[in-house]
Structure formats: C-alpha cells, structure tokens
Subunit: 150 residues, 2 copies
DNA sequence: TGAATTCGTACCAATAGGGTACTAATACTA
DNA sequence: TAGTATTAGTACCCTATTGGTACGAATTCA
C-alpha cells in the first residue's frame, strides 16, 4: 500500500507542534493531550525521532522534546525513515549502497523480473518527491489552510 | 509504509508481458511460469485487474488475458487502485467524493489534527505523480535498462 | 464429451501495525 | 536528601492485513 503509517502521522503532528514553538521543550504527555494521541505510542515515536536526530530530548523534570534541526532541513523522507525504516517501493527496488546485494536476493524473480529496472527509476523519483517536502512546508501549509477554514 | 504490495508488483509484471504482445491472449498459468510467480495468487490479481477493466478476459480453452486498453492509457494509480484499493496517504487524507465524510470520521483527531490540511495537499501531489506514470513508460523503461545490462 | 481456461468464493498462516506495560536512568525542585 | 516529572529501554500483546491456497462452477473450443 502507498500509505503513511499511523506512527508517521503521529510523528508529523508532534513535529508540527514542535515547529510552532521551536525554543520551548514539550513533554510527550503534553503533546499527546493536545492531539488526542495515545501517549505511550507517541513516546515510542518520539524516541525514534530522537534516535534519528530529528528532535532533541531533555530529561528530568520540566524536560521534553524540541526540534533537533531547523524545520526547513527536515524532509518527509527522513521522518518516514526514522519511524518506519527506509522507504522501499518494492522488495526488489529502492535499496541503496551495501544493502543492494541483499535486496537482489529478496527479489526472488531475479533477472526474470521484467519490472526491476523500471521500478528502480520510479523509486528514485518517488524519494526525490518525498524529499522535496520539508517540515517547514507542512507546518506553513497547514497554517494557511486552517486560517482559510476560520 | 510507502511500499507497493506484492500483488501490485505481480500485476505490473503481468501487465508488462501483456504490453509486449498486446494481441495474443495469455493464460494465467503461462504468465506465472514466465516470472516464477505463484499461479493461484496471480489468478486472483488478474481477476481484480479484469474487474477494473484494465485487462480483458477470454474464457474457455485457449483463453486468457489481454490488455483492456492501450498501454499508454493505463496509469500506475489505476493499477494500485485495482489491486489494493484506492491510494490513501493517511486515514484522514486522500479520500474523495462521497467517501470524504466517512474519512473524516476515520480521522479521530478531527479538527485537532494539525496536519490534516497539509497532508491533503501532499496526497494530491502524490496521486498526480503516480498518475503520470503509464504502463507504456514502465515497459519501455524496462526494455531500455535490460538492453543496457546485456 | 472432454479438456483448458476463467470466475467466485472461501479459507489458512505468517507478518506487520497499532498499542500497552514496566523498569531504569536522569534532572529539576523543595 | 527526598520526591517528582520526565525520557530511555525493553518486552509484550492483539488484531488486521498481506501473501498464498483450494475447490467447485461456469464457459468455450475441439
């Protein structure tokens, strides 16, 4: 399926909030309450984002999370990769570098697979598309649309 | 996950073969053998493609499948929709027409969802991207790449 | 009549997705 | 120093989806 997972969705929502107030730290619980997300799940998502360096964590009382990088340097591709692992268009395409050989095994059709080459091309274009979308754009876009609704 | 399902992959493989020889009919079994795909599963996939009008079925002895429309009029979006259902970027975005109200229920975050508007915009661009890819392009692209490998 | 095929439907098993629970480590505050 | 609020780490559960199978019925040609 060509679908963002719920975890990615939650990650985007949380990141949008962090983008709106980049200087303060926001606790996982507070973020969950504002969006009615399951707190325990959001904590896991934030941890993954923290591991990927997309957010910074501050422990202890009055701690929480803040953006790890400027919003215009965080792309949708990175968010997806941090939460759900790297984007693979198919089992046989979309694996880069040293993983490529492994992917070739995963594609059991091997050389007989008549769409292998074409899918790799599509995959590259898809990643380029997703990478062109930054967190800043998402936050700004939402602001514009929600303003139009009021 | 942003991933094409195996069924979509199989559909593309089968369609590529049908594109190469648009006039003959090809039985499900023959197509499965050429690509080492599970025959029973491919039959289900072909049935779905047939229901969507992307391929024509011919029953009886010496029957099989052929393209239902010219290859340059079949888009990747249609193939995905026929096999896996319509593309939904998220639960809250990407549902058109009369289904829209239903989707709004699916998005339990409702008005509090701060990425709703932005995701709808991304979804539209994604569908436009997938719709710009035709079966003819995939088949031609693959031909070019496989020629380069030899 | 028989063989080859698609059609319709129902079913099974494995995996991934969504979600929870609990304990440890850290840091602020009083 | 004690208490509290937070993240970190891990392990687990449940359900839906996905990948894959099976079988009988309808259709067509020889």
């Amino acid at each position: 399926m060509v679908t963002l997972s719920k975890k990615t969705e939650y990650a985007l929502i949380a990141l949008t909030y962090l983008t709106a107030e980049p200087k303060n730290t926001h606790s996982a619980r507070a973020l969950a309450q504002r969006s009615k997300m399951p707190p325990a799940l959001l904590m896991n998502v934030l941890k993954q984002l923290s591991g990927a360096g997309l957010v910074e964590s501050v422990r202890g009382a009055a701690g929480g999370y803040r953006l790890g990088r400027p919003a215009d340097e965080i792309t949708l591709t990175e968010v997806i990769a941090a939460v759900d692992g790297p984007v693979h268009l198919t089992a046989c395409a979309g694996t880069a570098g040293e993983e490529r050989e492994h992917a070739r095994q995963g594609c059991r059709l091997g050389g007989g697979c008549p769409v292998h080459g074409a899918l790799e091309g599509i995959h590259e274009r898809l990643v380029a598309f997703l990478s062109s979308i930054t967190l800043e754009q998402i936050a700004a876009d939402e602001l514009a649309k929600s303003a139009g609704r009021n």
